[in-house]
């Protein structure tokens, strides 16, 4: 039987533009993926358009990289500004940042499970935008189907509620304007704290009574997916949600796990490099740390197939996301697979929502949320945090209060990177290799693996140029 070559473009129910090229062949009697390329198809050049702007604008501009994790970009940029200024936010400023950021995590996780991921497993309503869907491998009986769909509708209300409580201190969402170097502009008025707590209780109940049981129900119906989509088993977290004003302790710590086993290793940002061997950038700037990174386009270039650079840690590919965070924190160590990613994300939502309850209770009404600072003339700093879909870093050099250089490595760059100079596949590519495909015309298994890492191509900054239709 000939090898089947197929492209899925667009991959839908993600944020942004993603194309996946696959080759499917029978190996040992099982039809499966034997080759794969993951390709982002949008380049906006945020790093370049930031150059020359006032440094203080970075949280506002970088928020617009992504409408699903804008607050994470605002957070990373604000942390880099804090470091530039040599200040820490006061306690209430730190807590309000965490509450708005946490609300956006909950929004993203609920959105991901119900709206983006679930349609790979259940039958949606027989009308657009749920048709024409693939009818492969649906294992949900009509009772469970009705329950999932009812919760899908509830999820839309609850994810909206997440943005509503976040906006109490974020002004508006997506794209909060309140994150600034030194803290936030909002102050915790007593009535807003109460409103936040009321909404959070509602969301917490949904996570505990709907989201977690639904994730477990899905896991029992599709338990073969604990053996699909493992990838390298290398997990990386920068850490997030500062528990003290200097950020010495966090709800999620930083660390690494190698091949899904052993003790958690330390993580040092200096060991991060970006490989461009298979990307359309000059090899003269290969394997640089982002603090000294360069982006020099080169196209055409032999062997290149993507505009995504390939981030590596000490030369190795790593997966980032809720599973990595929960593993490093010691909260979830069942395994690495499609279903483990889905379950870890659900339990992470519960952990964050409970932490947010205690943070809100720590707030002193009307307490100061901002530490005064002035931009230093020159500084090179970083802001490391986590977005809902994984580790996020901003590296920036400021000169005379203006942005001289800005480099961003998003979680999706880690997860959906291309091959590197050692021909190591990107983490999602690796996870897709060997995935069984029952019907190459309806490769629903491919979508399940892709969706398990919750790709956000809006965050990944680069694009592939391939065959184009003649005008």
């Amino acid at each position: 039987m000939p090898v089947i070559v197929a492209s899925i473009d667009p991959v839908t129910r993600i944020e942004g533009h993603l194309k996946v090229n696959i080759e499917v062949d029978a190996v040992g009697g099982v039809q499966q993926i034997t080759n794969v390329q993951t390709v982002g198809t949008l380049f906006r050049g945020f790093e370049k358009l930031l150059e020359g702007r006032d440094s203080r604008d970075a949280p506002i501009i970088t928020s617009r990289i992504c409408g699903v994790c804008p607050t994470s970009h605002a957070m990373a940029a604000a942390l880099a500004l804090d470091a530039q200024a040599g200040v820490n936010p006061p306690t209430a400023g730190r807590i309000l940042r965490n509450l708005v950021h946490g609300a956006c995590f909950l929004e993203s996780h609920i959105l991901h499970f119900y709206l983006l991921s679930l349609p790979d497993f259940i039958q949606g309503p027989g009308m657009p935008p749920w048709t024409p869907g693939w009818e492969m491998d649906k294992r949900v009986d009509s009772t469970a189907q009705d329950k999932f769909l009812a919760h899908y509708l509830e999820a839309i209300v609850l994810r909206r509620r997440c943005h509503e409580i976040g906006a109490l201190f974020g002004g508006k969402l997506p794209h909060t304007p309140t994150f600034i170097g030194g803290g936030v502009t909002a102050v915790p008025a007593a009535d807003k704290i109460a409103a936040f707590q009321a909404g959070l209780s509602e969301i917490l109940a949904f996570i505990a009574d709907r989201y977690i049981p639904d994730a477990e129900r899905l896991a029992s119906l599709y338990n073969d997916y604990f053996l699909i989509g493992r990838g390298y088993g290398n997990l990386l977290a920068y850490g997030a949600f500062e528990l003290d004003n200097a950020g010495a302790t966090k709800l999620f710590g930083s660390g690494r796990v190698v091949n899904g086993a052993g003790s958690v290793q330390p993580m040092a940002a200096t060991a991060i490099t970006e490989n461009v061997t298979h990307a359309w950038y000059s090899d003269a700037y290969n394997n640089l740390n982002p603090a000294s990174g360069e982006t020099a386009m080169q196209t055409p270039k032999a062997g290149a197939y993507s505009w995504l650079k390939a981030p590596r840690y000490s030369g190795a590919p790593y997966e980032v996301g809720p599973l990595a965070r929960m593993w490093v924190a010691g909260d979830y160590r069942n395994g690495v697979s499609v279903m483990d990613r889905i379950r870890a994300r659900a339990y992470e939502a519960l952990k964050i929502a409970r932490a947010m309850q205690s943070w809100a209770a720590e707030l002193t009404p009307d307490a100061s949320t901002y530490s005064t600072w002035a931009a230093p003339a020159n500084a090179t700093t970083q802001g490391l945090t986590e977005a809902p879909r994984g580790a996020l870093g901003h590296w920036t050099r400021a000169a005379a209060g203006r942005i001289g250089q800005y480099q961003i490595i998003t979680p999706t760059c880690w997860n959906i990177s291309p091959r590197d100079s050692a021909e190591q596949l990107g983490p999602l590519e690796k996870a897709l290799m060997g995935t069984p495909v029952a019907d190459a015309n309806q490769p629903v298994e491919v979508l399940r693996v892709i969706h398990s890492v919750d790709p956000c191509l809006d965050c990944a900054t680069h694009v592939m140029k391939a065959r184009r239709r003649a005008v």
Binding site: S7, D9, P10, V11, T12, R13, I14, E15, G16, H17, L42, F43, R44, L49, L50, R53, R56, D57, I61, R64, I65, G67, V68, P70, L111, M127, P128, P129, W130, P132, G133, W134, I156, R160, R161, H163, E164, A167, L168, G171, K172, H175, T176, P177, T178, I180, T185, A186, D191, K192, A195, G199, Y370, T372, L447, V463, A466, R467, R468, R469
Partner: protein
């Protein structure tokens, strides 16, 4: 999922004020929606962040059909939206092409149009291995659309991807095509304004536009007795000309709560929108205590208005210096 066009109508009745519909408008909408040949809606994303789509999901009403899903299932035949739809790859694109060939659709565009490298920095989709750039898709699909709604500042005017050195030569849709668009600007676009625009189109109601292609009903409302459309500053409760009891203006973020933010960069004096108290609202019974009535906006959280609904957004000037306009 027993959601019907009738339940959407009930929703529109309850939310008629928010939708800007009087009883005549409601009747027209009812008639339009009763028509099984009501136009399909195609939503394409270009140089975008998906923020306007996420914002649409924040569409609210706690009475009747409450959510955007119910708007979609009950009112709008949304055949293509990459973030929401179940189909992927060729089957999805084939359906898009079918609707395009038939014409008579409402086109919603999110994101700017990159024109560098022949549009190659944004591929909209492929069919049978052939790629279509967003630029090509916009040129083609605007030509046969009943109407084109630009959702957000990027598709309206270029927005942030067109700022600074504009690395991918992004332009707004009408700048590219020369064809008229209805611009619902904002970063992101407010979901109520987007639904308002789509409802006007479905009811065949003429929409009066300002010189930037924005509905005057949303962006250019005159206050009673005024000759020019009100700016946010003209309506701001922190403006002492509006509210004599307001405290003195802020000079620093360490003392800005409740104060006018002009010196900290607020662009309110040049911004015409109805942003005040209309973001991420938690709809609730009016008898609820104040803690249950949430009406947010940037200034309400002491953040200077960034002017994100304006053609000049973001501009080269810092968001944190007195805005010279």
């Amino acid at each position: 999922m027993a959601i019907t066009r009738r339940s959407f109508m009930k929703y529109c009745g309850l939310a008629a004020g928010a939708l800007g519909l009087d009883s005549t408008g409601l009747g027209l909408l009812q008639k339009a929606l009763a028509n099984p040949l009501a136009p399909s809606v195609i939503w394409l994303q270009g140089a975008a962040c998906a923020g306007c789509s996420v914002s649409l999901l924040n569409r609210i009403s706690d009475a009747g059909p409450a959510t955007v899903t119910e708007v979609l299932t009950g009112a709008i035949n949304l055949v293509y939206h990459t973030t929401l739809m179940t189909p992927a790859g060729d089957p999805a694109v084939a359906e898009l092409r079918r609707v395009y060939e038939n014409g008579s659709y409402v086109l919603v565009l999110e994101g700017g149009v990159p024109t560098a490298a022949g549009g190659a920095t944004c591929i909209a989709h492929s069919l049978h291995g052939e790629e279509t750039t967003f630029q090509q898709a916009v040129q083609e699909m605007t030509a046969r659309a009943l109407a084109t709604v630009c959702v957000g500042t990027c598709s309206s005017f270029g927005g942030i991807p067109a700022s600074g050195s504009n690395p991918t030569s992004v332009v707004g849709v009408s700048q590219l095509t020369g064809r008229p668009t209805i611009n619902i600007s904002g970063c992101p676009a407010n979901p109520d304004w987007v639904v308002w625009a789509v409802v006007q189109l479905l009811t065949g109601t003429p929409v009066d536009l300002d010189s930037d292609g924005r509905p005057t009903a949303l962006y250019g409302t005159n206050l009673a007795g005024a000759v020019a459309p009100a700016t946010l500053h003209d309506k701001c409760p922190r403006n002492r000309d509006v509210n004599p009891n307001a405290p003195t203006a802020a000079t620093s973020f360490d003392n800005c709560n409740g104060r006018c933010l002009l010196d900290l960069g607020c662009r309110g004096p040049v911004v015409k929108s109805r942003c005040d108290g209309c973001w991420n609202i938690k709809a609730a019974d009016p008898t609820d205590p104040p803690s249950e009535r949430w009406r947010n906006w940037c200034v309400g959280a002491n953040a200077p208005c960034q002017g994100c609904v304006e053609k000049t957004f973001p501009g080269p000037q810092s968001f944190f210096e007195f805005y010279e306009g």
